[in-house]
Symmetry: D2
Subunit: 346 residues, 4 copies
Amino acid sequence: MIRFESDYAEGAHKQILERLLETNEEQTPGYGMDEYCERARGYIRKACDAENADVHFLVGGTQANTTIISSILRPHQGAVSAITGHIAGHETGAIEATGHKVLTLPSDDGKINAKQVKELYDAHWNDATHEHMVQPGLVYISHPSENGTTYSKSELEELSKVCRECGLPLFMDGARLGYGLASKDNDLSLADIASLCDVFYIGGTKLGALFGEAVVILNDNIKKDFRYMIKQKGGLLAKGRLLGIQFETLFEDGLYYEISKHAVDLAMMIREAFVEKGFSLRYDSKTNQQFPILPNNVLNKLSRNYSFSYWEKVDDTHNVVRFCTSWATKKENVELLIEDIMKLES
Amino acid sequence: MIRFESDYAEGAHKQILERLLETNEEQTPGYGMDEYCERARGYIRKACDAENADVHFLVGGTQANTTIISSILRPHQGAVSAITGHIAGHETGAIEATGHKVLTLPSDDGKINAKQVKELYDAHWNDATHEHMVQPGLVYISHPSENGTTYSKSELEELSKVCRECGLPLFMDGARLGYGLASKDNDLSLADIASLCDVFYIGGTKLGALFGEAVVILNDNIKKDFRYMIKQKGGLLAKGRLLGIQFETLFEDGLYYEISKHAVDLAMMIREAFVEKGFSLRYDSKTNQQFPILPNNVLNKLSRNYSFSYWEKVDDTHNVVRFCTSWATKKENVELLIEDIMKLES
Amino acid sequence: MIRFESDYAEGAHKQILERLLETNEEQTPGYGMDEYCERARGYIRKACDAENADVHFLVGGTQANTTIISSILRPHQGAVSAITGHIAGHETGAIEATGHKVLTLPSDDGKINAKQVKELYDAHWNDATHEHMVQPGLVYISHPSENGTTYSKSELEELSKVCRECGLPLFMDGARLGYGLASKDNDLSLADIASLCDVFYIGGTKLGALFGEAVVILNDNIKKDFRYMIKQKGGLLAKGRLLGIQFETLFEDGLYYEISKHAVDLAMMIREAFVEKGFSLRYDSKTNQQFPILPNNVLNKLSRNYSFSYWEKVDDTHNVVRFCTSWATKKENVELLIEDIMKLES
Amino acid sequence: MIRFESDYAEGAHKQILERLLETNEEQTPGYGMDEYCERARGYIRKACDAENADVHFLVGGTQANTTIISSILRPHQGAVSAITGHIAGHETGAIEATGHKVLTLPSDDGKINAKQVKELYDAHWNDATHEHMVQPGLVYISHPSENGTTYSKSELEELSKVCRECGLPLFMDGARLGYGLASKDNDLSLADIASLCDVFYIGGTKLGALFGEAVVILNDNIKKDFRYMIKQKGGLLAKGRLLGIQFETLFEDGLYYEISKHAVDLAMMIREAFVEKGFSLRYDSKTNQQFPILPNNVLNKLSRNYSFSYWEKVDDTHNVVRFCTSWATKKENVELLIEDIMKLES
């Protein structure tokens, strides 16, 4: 069985494991106050061209989302998100558990736009009974989205502009950020993102690390007391250096970009194979997740040798499924898959 | 600088790292549904002589405490704890952040007893206005305690008996459990603990793992839907197998007990050295943490070559400090420390 | 200005005020432990044919909804509600503030049905990743709904049956319950409601009382420790007798039904006037709220002498508005309004 | 049975009931947007000499405490309070239910002082691991305290000064504020309180109103969006005018002060009677609550005709009890009590 069901099926990039081995017996202070974390912070600030950014390392995505959002919002405020956003549907109500509603916007492709945010904001403040409703308090986007789609620079600029006009901090969930940066359509740099968002994170779990997300805070208001929030939400790793070592490895020589490109290149090969055989794609993803619409007999055939995720039903004879590549995907496995796709009758 | 300031200053036991390396390229399902986790659960159930126990792996202690406690309590209930308990003072209000008060009992040595629990329970229910107060909903103990002390089998039996009479689930925080089991005073087995507690966890972070706590649930009422709670609190690790691999390594051949004994033996050597030189100990700890009361000039001398933690002030010229050993402590470093202690004028 | 904008524009029914005056100097125990509350509980149990029901008096609707829902749900569960439900949109996230998501079902008329609940329940449990989603934990309905519509006996029976099959407590928000019972389409008695729901409340604020909602708990599991929950949520009125006196007055001789009928009769006169003039109604309400779709010029004319609530936009020249009657509405005012409606050109 | 067990045993002052009757049929907008509330706000601002204060009316004390405290604190912060404070022990964990710890200071008489606050603040910030602890976020005091004691002007000035130096908003729970102002030792005016506190409330429930607390916000940071918080916490009364009418009556002609003085004068008569007979007082209260230490045989005798509250045990033969007077206490009842006290053998 060759697995394309997720981008977290393997361990870590071998350079990361080597570093963990090399440093294993060293003694360091706990909770992220060690020199590895400090150096990793420096590399990330540099990559973001954001000398004054605060950088914190958390273990996972749900934890990062919850800690960031609950740190920003006041009790009567909610987080604006696409209905498809991870916080809206796949975190067991983690945001609500901290007291906040997720205010959802319709989205077919996983993205939201500036106009939608402005309309929601205006609708709230123009309602005579707005005090009876949850006040929009920040905007959450994922990039790439849960559907593999990405924001262009101009889209993100417009969104950022509206957010600043409305006083809504803009927060980007970058659990798969590297795969977005590696998309051939991409015109956004980390520095662009750092200048347009108030806070975002750079995913490690799905991009070469054993685990870990690097939270980058640009807005000074959000920086204050953030370590208290991490500790309270259970995210302050005792051996914090494990996160520092991993992000140092990913960012000191461009490994993060390199492995992201590897995954996206392979995903595009899969995409092209499906397209060539005449299958449609549910979303126009240029990143590491591909969502072909396949007839049931094709699904049956492919599932003999490959694992992939069920996504949604189209009709009685067709379903959308998801194929993921990652930093760890082997080219030969992708070639086997493509061979098998090519043998299909579309 | 030789560090005795904590038991999480190094990485992981080398057998664990080797296993992580060996398995690194394997593809497994996520979120703890892999075969490594399954095998580790089996080893732990066997070690606890508790075939029907549910076993879950979490990343850290604050996360484990929060997830367990908030899963058990109804909104108007609180967790009974020693005033010195980790949840009472060192988790940035993580329990309160889930809506629950920590109901503290006085304690000088970190332990609480059956009589105290019964009196608090009776005081609540005998108060005519009890509905205006937080209802005790469970009892939290740490073993070893934050002060290195441990419960004897008869003490835990009495506590368990009262808790069952009062309908209060008994929860043991075992962040340093191995060091308690390795104490020469210990008469408790994992099976005893499993039969006397409703839920407890076996600490990995401070005992040879990179990170990880194994939660063991005995009470059927607490088992229900626990994975939802883990996910909501941000504790469901994507690459869950990392936890399975570590606990499998610790429990398949007794490594956990072996490395715990190593640490406690070294701690007892330190203890004896201080005692021999006539220094008092703040707590009667037979585990890996030692708390000598030292004059300031001694602290100054020792701090040139050794790191340790400040604990509390005794008077203007004396302070309590903490020396920790761990699975990773090198015997030669302890010998150097003892040599230097022996040179002190008491 | 004659006000039809809400059903809480006046004080209380004069019999209630008289009773408050008569009893004003009496001394009673606080917090609902007085004889007035006790008698009122008896009358309500009798009206519900539910001898074993627990009856509690709360001050307002948002408070009642929050207290009931947070008392029932475990942390990972949510409340299923119509998207139009009061808890979903008009309580400033009060449910989320207690940690729970509102799981919304589409609804055009304010009602939900058994099939929708079953489908949502099945969709949750059939999803392989259901632990990553909020688990449905109870079903909330409002009767009459926010749109004035009501459930028939057979509809409520079907809903109740599905809820019991799925293990989901059924909770009816009866802020305007009297107006539902007084609808000419109504075939539900209080006893029917008590036998089909697990918990519901009988609204007083909008039906003759200064304030107050009588919560009736039928399901034994929900009864436990409910007074703690009331106190914690700030709902345990010191002078609890004020609530007892009001509900005693409303229920000892049928005043509640009488004043409800008064309001609904007047609302139906307004409805008929609009219909006669050819205006459409947004919802088919047979209760005290009426929702005509009116052209802007009509709205302008009527707003000179009458207040009513804006509801929603239909198109550039038409809007839906709400006219409310209540126990306090004067027939002569309704007659004036109808006269003016009749003069309109439709 | 003559009741001295609480100060909320009766209804409301007759002038208040008369006003409610007079205005009963008027139609007003809901939720505190009516002219009665507006006028009451004006009277209170004037009484506080605080033109820019925001004034909000809530139904009860627990609600006021919860709404104010949760509005001010960020998630990692707690409320500093005397261990005896109402929020620390008598609100069923309402503060914790909003996510915040109550950080208690020892107190024998119900008061805390500037030095204690400064020490707690310094202890937090001087601790190297302060991020692992709840950060002090505001200071809560009750005046009069739960024990009937009051702050002098100089004490409050010192407290206020330290709070401002530390950036901790000072919040005064004034559930019995009138009785403090009426104490013969009092040297604080409402204007003083308004200039020294960031937010406080003027209790109505225990001082002549059916129910109601007037929250006065002085600090601009606390003003923002406060009505959202009231709604979310279930405190936005539909018929808000009921609160406006009551506070207008209490404050337009000094009724509040007059009835407070009545209660305190009677309480001092009771105090003097006990003292004259040689009984000790547990607290030095000059307000409407008196706490004599009485032998059990005396308690038995008095309890035949009078109700009072059990407070705490002194020894096997003595207990502290509480006698309350209120705006509604009849002088003849106090005289009967005093007669009976005088007949006691001390």
